[in-house]
Amino acid sequence: MYSEKVMNHFKNPRNVGEIENADGVGEVGNAACGDIMKLTIKVEDNKIADVQFKTFGCGAAIATSSMVTELVKGKSLDEAENISNATVAEALDGLPPVKMHCSNLAADALHAAIENYKKKK
């Protein structure tokens, strides 16, 4: 059901964890419906210097979280803001249709973290 890339990221998720004293925190989803993603970022020179995630969700949710951290690491904030759920899903060679909303979660968490950073500044 999942592509090899999804399974690869699911088995070996990159950048798991939580950055202490993060510059931006994005948390989306809700415990009542069961899926939660938390993304923390470190920003230097307007670039995402470090990023880590924690996710409670299905295989696709974990893989998209991992992929989004890979995609944005080292990118400028502007570039990162342009990453959409479709970008993440494509980078994983696609997701099953019922799992597309899990990739929303990843993109939303990223955008929330950037917004949170900008608000703090």
Partner: protein
């Protein structure tokens, strides 16, 4: 790698002895059982022998057995057929909120046809209260349909007592015994049932064949019209190989059930104890004692079921989950939510259902692979520990479950 199959409530492999009795009916004994010539007669005999085997399995008259295309069809026939026959007497059905979709969705369909349905609630153990049933009965109640054992949690309902209540009020009583068959002894008279559903593929028979027991004198209209097969209760040339296989599966279940049931109970307890000893925050879903010997449904809190199943699958273990994420429909299990489980706990549920192929070595393997998997997923979970930051505003709009 030999896989460990822990999903026997979903389906079972066909028993070799069952395959053996089916084989001659594909091409050697191929006749139409309704034909009067020799080719039909020998096939007819095969069907009637199977009917007798099922009848002795359920302790009823062979004439009370209707062969169908499976558990779902039997449930549909029972509910639609009884409602059709009794619609002049009343329009009220009583069932539970934890039935299999074959009953639940049929009841919802009957509501659209103008019937009224009461869905009895369950408590935290997934058990109904007989008081609730008694209170739900009205003078318009024509049918009670309540499952024998729940497919997700294994919780066993007091069918005999429910049947007594139905009998006193002269209400037709159907039970879906698909999960009970082969795991607990069935006796339609002791159970006080008028109709009872079983399905061959849950007891080491072939898929696509089932039985509806219909008590002599019970009012039921047919659903499939055509030839006069099955005493006009289910038209269509019989699924001969399936029926013959189902008969044999019932014979084997009668022969092996006692010993096997005991063995599975030991395996189930071994797994439950092993998991709770090695992993924190493991919650049993289902009744602690009134439960099928082969079913263990547990929630691993703070982790999600689909990612657990994927990990188990990588180690060759096949199980199932009530998590919304693994359901395709993105709805969490209606059984677990009816029991009052919070969504995130329902999300972490895994059902292990045991069967003939399972050994102590399988159980020990699962007890060994589960703790690191759960630990890894918990380390990744924002719900575990104190990592949730209450000061961060969370968007809830993205929740699509």
């Amino acid at each position: 790698m030999k896989g460990i199959y822990m999903d026997h409530n979903a389906t079972t492999p066909v028993h070799p002895e069952v395959i053996e009795v089916m084989l001659p009916f594909f091409s050697e004994h191929f006749g139409n059982p309704s034909s009067i010539h020799w080719a039909g007669r020998e096939v007819k005999k095969g069907i009637e022998t199977a009917r007798e085997s099922v009848a002795s399995f359920l302790k009823c008259d062979p004439k009370e057995i209707v062969f169908t295309a499976g558990g779902s069809e039997s449930d549909n026939l029972a509910i639609k057929g009884v409602c059709d026959a009794l619609k002049d007497k009343g329009n009220h059905i009583i069932t539970t909120s934890v039935e299999h979709p074959a009953v639940l969705h049929t009841c919802e369909y009957m509501e659209k046809q103008g019937f009224q349905v009461t869905y009895l609630p369950v408590d935290m153990d997934g058990m109904i209260r007989l008081e609730d049933l008694k209170n739900a009965v009205t003078d318009k109640t024509i049918l009670i349909t309540i499952m024998f054992a729940n497919n997700e949690t294994g919780t066993i309902f007091p069918i005999s007592e429910i049947g007594k209540i139905a009998k006193e009020r002269k209400i037709t009583f159907h039970t879906d015994a698909v999960q009970a068959a082969g795991k607990i002894p069935l006796d339609v008279n002791a159970l006080n049932v008028d109709l009872l559903t079983i399905s061959a593929h849950k007891l080491y028979g072939p898929k696509g064949v089932g039985v509806l027991y219909v008590r002599k004198g019970a009012k039921m209209k047919p659903m499939i019209h055509g030839g006069g097969q099955e005493r006009n209760r289910r038209a269509g040339t019989e699924n001969v190989t399936g029926i013959v296989g189902m008969g044999k599966a019932c014979e084997i279940a009668m022969r092996d059930m006692d010993a096997e049931s005991e063995r599975l109970l030991n395996l189930r307890e071994r797994l439950h104890k092993g998991l709770t000893r090695k992993i924190e925050h493991v919650k049993l879903n289902g009744h602690p004692s009134m439960r099928l010997n082969n079913t263990l449904n547990v929630s691993f809190e703070y982790v999600e079921g689909e990612s657990l199943l994927l990990n188990l699958d990588m180690d060759g273990v096949a199980a199932s989950s009530g998590s919304a994420c693994s359901s395709g429909s993105l709805e969490p299990s209606h059984v677990l939510t009816a029991m009052g489980l919070p969504h995130e706990v329902a999300h972490g549920s895994v059902r292990f259902s045991f069967g003939s192929s399972n050994t102590e070595a399988d159980i020990d393997k699962i007890i060994e692979i589960m703790p690191p998997v759960v630990a890894r997923l918990r380390a990744m979970s924002p719900l575990y520990g104190k990592s949730l930051n209450p000061s961060v505003e969370r968007t809830t709009a993205v929740c699509q479950h």
